[in-house]
């Protein structure tokens, strides 16, 4: 009887029982004997000299154990900067101390920390810390930061420009000169806050006897965190243990090494007591990385038939005040992905990274690719409008055709596989595109404004080949077949909602013929799991899953040797069939992996020279990135009286290659679309001209609620990749990348009768209402 295959089926998540019953352990749930609580004192100024930090009153407060300023940390030898990972030779990298030493550069920068035996007392005492500041000139916007004579965020650098990356290919000037139409547009990708519902948090424990520090942190990268902490703290790496317990959402924001992590570990060592820090939401808005924040001045050149011949973009990326882990790298992805799924041979692109007196930007879901997709997809619609063409036709004309893969873009990437037209035609069919267009025309005649928006995206993920990454791009997996036949999987990735405890177990269950309940997938503890790189960049399955596949193959190969010896057969005649070892031509012979594992444990019936035990650790080094793609279609109605956008229909057809668990894949797409739609319609981090954060709480920052989002209709095509042995691409970020331009294109399509060509996000009602009122002048041409 053939075993029922689990891969490809919607197996319920094995993570869920502990989560739905409230029995999971997030960082804030960790309690250790003798634990004390840290509170950070943060700058209320966007740019100022620190004149004096007076901790005396705070230290005198009952229940306060200690307090330290940035200068105190320096004096105690804690002088390392927080890390930035990059391979940019000319990058300007200012020092970035965990606590500011003599100058603060954004609102929310930590200047001091205190420790009390109770979190309430810690916060009371934080109010008693007196910091005297001498205000310095502030610069918040990138264009002002680049102007001559602008205030310098880091005076020692002599400039606010951290780097510039130009990328020119083909003959862009010739292409623009010979084009029939050129469209110019300035596109702003507003700053966003990632807002995982669990904020950051840390518990640090010092084992004085062993000289080891353990850091529980809400992180996506426990091993990278361990490495960096060992460097910052000056401890051997073996004396640092990082644990990512249950992590309540990341979206890139926890792909970092934060000041508070380093300080908490240092405090635990200094005080000899476990130290907990739980971030408040207000702190999280100020001091967790932000995403996006790019201004792109774009030009696109086309022939009359819609063929795109050239693309120009000058992109200014607001980096914030300091480099966090990947701050400078993220905007470079925008340039690389700017051509999207289209054949565009002539490009003239440049991204400039600029320091300002704001929190750092870094990886937020999509990380550089949503900006690229927004750029090219808005431009495609603007070209279509200029030519009076259907936006779908303009896209059809320019898609890289399926036979062209692997396809090397003008920006130097090699797209692995794709069939872009296929997802678009499927999405258009699902959305009844001709029908909706007809309805749009009919409704316009009634003074109702329906809009249809398309986004055909390709994204780069499965991060990634080590040669193309700022640090290691591989990942790892260990499989141990235990004596009783249960299987332990140790994965180097660090899932926090993506469901690999389930999908990885599905894969192992099928390939090794083990019941899924007999498989434990372990992650997130550097003492238990071999080095791994982590979960980000839609890499979990494409890299970590691929490593697991390699480990499965190694286990199978050894199990076959064991069985062959037992049967007195040639290993070459054995194979895995439906999860069991079989002998070709002899259906009576069968051995389970568990039986082979037991023989491997007993050790007395093994072929000469074969080591006992049945386990394997493998690493997968991706030869390339993977490039998922898809088409999203959004149908909106904009109320001319109020400017309110109602999303009537949302169709997404995505292609992430092979699928291990369709339920989980769809869940990733749902959440991704929600975040992309949130950028289009609702969310925006706002700093005023003094660098004050105006969107510092969930009262001001508009994370959408259930009623503000529609139902999503999903479908998919399957175009496997040959980049990894599973044929999978990534799916974590696809929804976010595809959604934003689909929604914006839909709204602007609705506003076409008003002659409105572009409005910057978020498309809040007042902006739309004003645009409609201003342009219509009482008369609307239909």
């Amino acid at each position: 009887m053939a075993a029922v295959r689990l891969v490809g089926t919607p197996v319920r998540r094995r993570e869920d029982p502990r989560l739905i019953t409230g029995r999971a352990t997030y960082v804030d749930d960790v309690k250790l004997v003798g634990m004390v609580h840290a509170a950070f004192i943060r700058s209320p100024y966007a740019h100022a000299k620190i004149v004096r930090v007076d901790l005396a009153k705070a230290k005198a407060h009952a229940g306060v154990l200690a307090a330290f300023s940035g200068a105190d940390l320096h004096a105690a030898g804690m002088t390392a900067s927080l890390p930035v990972a990059h391979k940019m030779p000319d990058l300007k990298t200012p020092p970035h101390y965990p606590l500011a030493v003599d100058e603060v550069r954004f609102v929310g920068e930590a200047v001091a920390v205190l420790i009390a035996n109770d979190p309430y007392i810690a916060r009371d005492a934080a109010e008693l810390v007196e910091v005297e500041y001498d205000e310095l000139p502030i610069v918040v916007e990138v264009e002002k930061a680049m102007a001559p004579g602008a205030p310098l965020v880091h005076a020692s650098l002599g400039t606010n420009v951290a780097y510039a990356m130009p990328l020119r290919a083909g003959d862009p000037d010739g292409a623009f000169a010979s084009a029939d139409v050129v469209v110019k547009q300035r596109l702003v990708n507003q700053r966003l806050a990632p807002v995982p519902i669990e904020t950051r948090g840390v518990v640090a424990q010092w084992d004085a006897g062993a000289g080891r520090v353990t850091l529980y942190s809400s992180t996506q990268i426990p091993h990278l965190l361990r490495t960096q902490l060992s460097l910052i703290l000056g401890l051997p790496e073996t004396n640092v243990r990082a644990i990512a317990p249950e992590v309540g959402g990341g979206f890139g924001s926890k792909l970092n090494v934060y000041a508070e992590e380093a300080v908490a570990a240092w405090l635990a060592m200094r005080l000899g007591r476990p130290v907990k820090w739980s971030e408040t939401r207000s702190e999280c808005f100020q001091a967790m990385i932000h995403g996006r924040d790019q201004i792109a001045d774009c030009e696109i050149a086309a022939k009359r038939d819609g063929t795109i011949v050239g693309l120009r973009a000058r992109i200014l990326a607001n980096l914030g005040a300091y480099h966090q882990l990947l701050t400078p790298v993220i905007p470079t992805l925008t340039v690389l992905m700017a051509p999207g799924p289209y054949r565009i041979a002539n490009v003239d692109l440049e991204v400039t990274g600029v320091f300002t007196n704001t929190m750092s930007t870094d990886a937020y879901r999509g990380a550089g690719r949503p900006e690229a997709t927004y750029l090219i997809e808005r431009l495609m619609d603007l070209v279509a409008r200029k030519l009076g063409a259907d936006p779908a036709d303009v896209r059809r004309r320019n898609f890289i055709e399926p036979s062209a893969f692997p396809f090397t873009t003008a920006t130097g990437l090699t797209y692995d596989s794709g069939d872009y037209a296929k997802t678009m035609e499927k999405a258009l069919q699902l959305a009844d595109y001709p029908g909706v267009r007809a309805r749009q025309a009919a409704l316009r005649a009634e003074g109702r404004y329906l809009g249809i928006g398309l986004s055909t995206y390709v994204e780069v993920c499965g991060m990634g080949p080590s040669a193309a990454m700022p640090a290691a791009g591989w990942d790892s997996a260990t499989i141990r077949v235990e004596p009783t036949g249960s299987v332990t999987v140790l994965t180097g990735i660090s899932p926090h909602g993506q469901g690999e405890e389930t999908t990885f177990a599905q894969l192992v269950a099928d390939e090794l013929g083990v019941a899924i309940d007999d498989i434990a997938v372990v992650h997130g503890d550097t003492d238990r799991v071999q080095y791994g790189v982590g979960t980000f960049g839609s890499r979990g399955t494409a890299v970590g899953g691929a490593a697991l596949k390699l480990a499965i193959e190694t286990i199978q190969a050894k199990a076959i040797k064991i069985a062959a010896h037992r049967w007195g057969a040639d290993p070459a005649d054995l194979e895995y069939r439906d999860g069991k070892i079989g002998l070709r031509g002899d259906p009576s012979k069968a051995m389970t992996t568990a039986e082979a594992g037991f023989l491997a444990f007993m050790g007395d019936q093994l072929p000469p020279g074969l080591e006992p035990g049945l386990d394997a650790t493998r690493r997968f080094e991706p030869p390339n990135f993977v490039y998922p793609f898809g088409t999203h279609v959004c149908v909106v109605e904009v109320d001319a009286e109020t400017g309110k956008v109602s999303v009537e229909r949302y169709v997404a057809v995505d292609d992430c290659g092979n699928v291990l668990n369709p339920m989980i894949v769809e869940g990733q797409v749902h959440g991704g679309i929600a975040q992309g739609m949130a950028q289009a319609l609702y969310e925006e981090v706002v700093y005023d001209e003094y660098g004050q954060l105006l969107t510092g709480s969930l009262m001001d920052y508009a994370v959408p609620r259930a009623e503000q989002l529609p139902h999503f209709d999903l479908d998919r095509t399957v175009t496997p990749t040959s980049v990894n042995p599973l044929g999978v691409k990534g799916v974590g970020e696809a929804g976010t990348i595809g959604a934003t331009p689909a929604v914006v294109n839909a709204v602007l399509d609705a506003l076409a009768p008003f002659g409105v060509e572009h409005i910057d996000m978020p498309l809040r009602p007042e902006k739309l209402w004003k645009a409609m009122g201003t342009r219509s002048n009482g008369k609307v041409s239909v």
Partner: protein, 180 residues
């Protein structure tokens, strides 16, 4: 310092030395070690800390512990266990209504309260009914599905009520969960 008597998940507690400013959520998490109630914001916006107070959903970050004196609190730990899931927990699992799980416990309690008030909500009623709870992972798509599925399961498990009879009490709902 105050003294409170309250019932939490069916167990009576009498506690001395409760600081008047202690929030209910911290009381539950720190004094009673019921860490399934989460904290996601400081403005009563996210709903991660939702518990049932005398059967009605409240945000436990918006109440002092002393205000729960004489009341009955139900947290996520009190509605079901892995062995005996409440139909709402079962539905969230079956419909993949969670990813990171952080908002989930509060979301489940809000959804239970929603069905107490409206045992058969449509999609719009579910979406508006859960407006006090933020989720960043799911886009709410499968949460809506889960609440629909739970409503159907709970209706099927419930004897038909006479017209005019008051809506289901949380106690009845708990029995539904417990009897599975």
């Amino acid at each position: 310092m105050g003294r409170i008597e309250l019932e939490v998940n069916g167990t009576r507690h009498e506690l001395e030395g409760v600081e008047p400013r202690l929030l209910l959520v911290h009381f539950l998490r720190e004094r009673l070690a019921l860490t399934g109630t989460h904290i996601g914001c400081d403005t009563s916006s996210c709903g991660a800390c939702t518990v049932l107070l005398d059967g009605k959903a409240v945000k436990s970050c918006t109440m002092f512990a002393l205000q729960a004196d004489g009341r009955a609190v139900t947290t996520i730990e009190g509605i079901g266990s892995s062995a005996e899931l409440h139909p709402m927990q079962e539905a969230f699992w079956a419909q993949h209504g969670l990813q990171c799980g952080y908002c989930t416990t509060g979301m489940i309690l809000s959804a239970i309260d929603l069905l107490r008030r409206n045992p058969d909500p449509d999609e719009v009623e579910i979406r508006t009914g859960l407006e006090g709870n933020l989720c960043r992972c799911t886009g709410y798509e499968n949460i809506v599905k889960a609440v629909r599925a739970a409503a159907a399961a709970m209706a099927a498990a419930q004897p038909v009520r006479e017209a005019g009879e008051p809506p289901k009490s949380p106690g009845e709902l708990l029995e539904v969960g417990g009897s599975r």
